[in-house]
Amino acid sequence: MRSLRIVAVALVSSALACAQPPLTAEQKRLNLESFEFVWSTIRDQYWDPTFGGIDWTAVRDEFRPRIMRAATMAETRTLMSQMLERLGKSHFAIIPSDIYGDLDAREESGTASAGFDVRVIENHALVISVQEGSPAALQGVHSGWEILSIDGTDLAPRIEKVAGLYRNSTTRELYLARSVLGKLAGDEGSLAQIQFRDGSGARIVKEIQRIRPQGSLAKFGYLPPSYVWIKSRKIGGDAGYLAFNLFLDPARLMPEFGNAVHYFAECAGIIVDLRGNPGGLGIMAMGMAGWFIDKPDQRLGTMYTRQAPVKFALNPRPPVYHGALAILVDGCSASTSEVFAGGMKDLGRARIFGTRTAGAALPSAIDRLPNGDALQHALADYISEGGRTLEGVGVIPDVEVKLTRDALLAGHDPVLDAAIEWIHAQK
């Protein structure tokens, strides 16, 4: 999840070009210190010690004098960004101090949700599912309704701004959804005044009480605790359906996932729904894949680190499920979701339904710089088993199916429907 925020900030930083006051001597000193930090971090941690053929020392010699001559913060950031661009990779950026955190409104405003999920489809923020029994459900909020404003803030300009910012990025759908969900989030028990456009086109206002997110609170080391849920049920007569919101809480999620696969043993197919899943622990993708593959020595892909390439190896977990496997993805499926979906597609083990994933697969970190900005840098490269990079590309579905307002209002999930239809055709 953190890596997703990083991608967003990276893109935002490149949009900075506003005029700024001249630098003080102290700011110049801190900027030079920051430049050295950036350069040496890449020197020491970039996964490819040859830097793709670039003479990294020469790059320093070229940019250092220019940093010393830079007259504004904007110029300094531009120069450092240009230096990073020489690597020709995503996930490397200078994050201005005044922007970092702006894209993470959810953390600042609380973690309670409005009880429904959202996607921005053709620049309209649409409810795509409503949590059963939630205040939103009890107030009649329905899939397909458009969200027009939240607490008096009109969403259209917000959506337009984010859409423009990410117009050329595979992460566009991800950050459009996050920008709305961040606005919807708040403290548990608080009220969100939301203006909707309902199925008839009428504008209606609802006061929705925010509730604790679904699932159980899971901790992993020093990372902020997250609510993790997993759902499974039989669907469409003879298909098994599995969905979970994060690749976290392995002690609980892995056994539940495995038990569900075994429960679906006689089903014609299993559907793993990764729509909206931003990823988590990569190792869980390997473990889950093991329930679907029966040959040893297969892998989802390879992560290239400075120290060594790490194969995402799969262990068959008997009794292995041999039926049809469909994986559902969308633009909010990222990171480990992409590793799982992309790898299973490359192995020929799964058919992918939905829309292109976020293309945000690389593990990355943010380091604060002495001048207050931050450096975002990827710690590794990842190549899926089919030899394709996922970063900036995403997983392309075998069957592209888009959600529409009409389908949602009619209570349909066309992506799920397509997967069920395919499973039935495999019999």
């Binding site: 392995p250 002690a251 093991g290 120290q307 060594a308 068959p316 008997p318």
Partner: protein
């Protein structure tokens, strides 16, 4: 013998590292076998090792600075049986073992895996209870490569080439004769990943000195193992080294 299991967590992640080095000018390096034999003497002597038929080690495992930790228990019995379990908080159990023939790993996250080839050879070597006494059986060659400082102490750097697998580098303190550092590339199903381990805080138990702390670096991640208790010639359940059901099921395929 009681040093090897400290590498086992790193084996999950795989890896080994080799450093080039050179003797200090004018220094005549002792033979590797002399250094290895002195290590046996320094840690208790041949007779003390020969009295040991099994061991049970308990301790803690922690990723440095990540807030991820857990409890570790390790059993070994002669000649080369081993079972280790690490229970990581919020992640689950990681098990690793061998009955002397089949070497395996099993975790709630990654599932069962039977080791083969070089990976299996490494596990069997690490499971060898009296490895310090039996290094001539385990390694086909051992050479003293250089004298290098490790944490400010002059150490002999030895390169040991196992019968199967990649060379390992070990560093022995010139004064204390004790092993202080290892660089190992263990081949695993995840690849060939360099690891580096330093050991410290040697303490005596039943006439044998062994380190109570080890610090491991694997793929830029650091973790530490702290040993709280070592029991030699203790009661170990008869089925402790039996293959788990998941491994048996995998082997039956």
């Amino acid at each position: 013998m009681h040093l090897r299991y400290r590498l086992m967590p790193a084996v999950f992640l795989a890896g080994l590292l080799c450093h080039a080095g050179a003797a200090r000018a004018g220094e005549v390096l002792p033979k590797a076998e002399e250094i290895l034999d002195k290590f046996v003497e320094a840690t208790g002597g041949k007779a003390a090792y020969e009295k040991i038929h099994n061991e049970k080690v308990t301790g803690t495992f922690e990723f440095v600075g990540k807030g991820v930790k857990g409890a570790m228990t390790n059993y070994r019995a002669e000649p080369n049986k081993m079972y280790m379990r690490i229970d990581l908080e919020n992640i689950g159990a990681i098990e690793d073992g061998t009955d002397g023939e089949t070497a395996w790993t099993l975790s709630v996250v990654q599932g069962p895996h039977i080791k083969t080839g070089e990976e299996r050879a490494v596990s069997l070597r690490e499971a060898t209870l009296r490895a310090p006494l039996e290094w001539r059986k385990l390694y086909k060659n051992a050479e003293t490569a250089a004298v290098e400082d490790v944490n400010g102490q002059a150490c002999y750097k030895l390169v040991l080439t196992p019968n199967e697998g990649k060379p390992e580098t070990q560093y022995y303190d010139k004064k204390s004769k004790l092993l202080v550092k290892m660089s190992v590339t263990v081949v695993s199903q995840m690849g060939e990943i360099p690891t580096e381990t330093t050991v410290s805080d040697y303490k005596e138990q039943d006439g044998l000195l062994s380190p109570r702390k080890s610090h491991h670096t694997v793929l830029g991640q650091e973790f530490e193992i702290t040993i709280n208790q070592i029991e030699y010639n203790t009661e170990i359940p008869n089925n402790r080294f039996d293959l788990p059901a998941e491994i048996k099921a995998l082997a039956a395929k």
